[in-house]
Amino acid sequence: MNDQSNNQNNKHPIDRELLKKYSSEEQKEILRVWEKSGTDLEESRQKHRQRIKPVDEALSEVQNRLGFPAPDLDLPVDSGKNSPSGFGPKWYLAAAVILIVLGTGYLLTPRMYFVSYGEMAEIELNDGSTIEMNSGTQIRHNRLFGRTNRTLHLDGEAYFTIRSGDEPFIINANGSTVEVTGTRLNIRSWSSDPGSETSVTVTEGEVYFYPEKSPDRRVVLSPGKMSSWNNNMIEPADPVSVSADRVLGWRSNLLHFDEKPLAVILNELERRFDVRIELEAQEMRYETLTTYYTEPRNLETVLNDISLVKGLRYAETANGYRIYR
């Protein structure tokens, strides 16, 4: 039976695509590192095998719990048989009541998705729509999403690919609402940014964009158009044409800022690179800057550029950077 326990494969290959990014000289080094990093893998697996419960024993425990018939006995499975004795119908009734109570509570707790700083994530919702989420973004919806409603709340930036469905797909973001059927769009709406401004850019289909409290003040956005709204505005700004590539650059780890205040830019850098950035020159918070990188840059390059343009300096701190005059 233990034929499976010998010869654990230590030769997990490196990802081919990943390797292609290196020069042939580098590839050799990378492959050596890859191989050496597993030097004692075999030995430590063997050690583990000696200490963990043997597979046969573990499997038969699981089979018992599931009520599989014991080997050689082909008995039909009776689900009642394995339930602990002493629990009659009343017990089931009580359990049902508890379940209903707990169930209601469960339905009321929203489902949350949060992407750590320095990472990006993609989620698929139960209606088949997918969402790519930028670093630090949070999305929540209630448990009936996809059944009785398709409403969710966004704080952050995300690219939506929305399946058409019976229910309209509604995104609430910091006081604004975006309503769509089947379409693709990007929404940026950070509560942590000054003004908590929401910007919506459509790449496919059509969307309605309006302040949550005044649905009649809506604008209609078609592909290639962008509109923004913040709390101080009566209705969303007139749609303007934008370069979708730039707006969606974050999905390829690019940075793009169009006349954005320094505070907004630094927030983005903090999330993207998972560091603290202290702006000591507070009076510069609302200084705007336009910058677009066509390939991913490291943080120091970006800080260097910003400092240069704005006549600032930066220095490393224990957990990040500080920017000062």
Binding site: L18, S44, R45, S116, A121
Partner: protein, 201 residues
């Protein structure tokens, strides 16, 4: 053993969704050691690792009707084991502190092996043990998420899509994590080799 092929797992998944117990047993047998080894690296307790993996298999059987053969059952299993292991750590925070302490102070130990007898010799022979110990230290220097992604690739043989599923990340982020991990290890390894050459002269 070679891990079962993706094809094989898909076939088992399909049969399990149709209540085939033999397929369930086969799946259990082929992934029990890899999964408990994976769980153990979080829990540092063999019994707990075993319990977690058993619980996960029980729930796979109970929810067999929901199995989607299009989705990788392997990533699903790793994901469930990881979630439960992390929950376990969270619920036993003294254990978690202990783990963190180990991380912070005892650079000779790692989640990879976690056995206390493994000591790192400081003397300069480039033995297999020494190199293994060094890699353990260097892997431990990685941030948690980077280390997780790297270990899932290097030690569990998951592909990047599977790791993305397990850790709820995009493939791109997984790629970044692994590239970063490799360049860290490469730097360390090169420094180590160079300093060795220097000493040898």
């Amino acid at each position: 053993m070679n891990q079962p092929s993706a094809e094989q797992i898909r076939e088992w998944a399909d049969r399990i969704s149709r209540s085939d117990r033999e397929a369930f047993n086969a799946l259990f047998r082929s992934l029990y050691y890899p999964l408990t080894y994976f769980a153990y690296r979080y829990t540092q307790c063999h019994d707990q690792a075993c319990d977690i993996v058993q619980d996960v298999f029980v729930s796979v059987w109970q929810d067999r009707n929901d199995i989607d053969p299009q989705q990788s059952l392997k990533s699903y299993l790793y994901k469930m084991v990881r979630n439960r292991a992390l929950n376990h750590l969270r619920d036993h925070s003294d254990r978690m502190m202990e783990l963190e302490k180990v991380h912070l102070t005892d650079s000779g130990r790692s989640l990879i092996t976690g056995h206390d007898e493994d000591t790192v010799s400081n003397e300069g022979t480039d033995s297999v043990e020494e190199l293994a110990g060094n890699f353990r230290i260097w892997i431990n220097e990685l941030s948690d998420r980077r280390r997780e992604a790297f270990e899932l690739s290097r030690f569990e043989g998951l592909d990047h899509q599977e790791i993305a599923d397990v850790m709820n990340l995009t493939v791109k982020t997984v790629n970044n994590h692994i590239v970063d991990a490799l360049s860290h290890l490469r730097k360390r390894y090169n420094n180590h080799s160079n300093s060795k050459d220097g000493n040898g002269l």
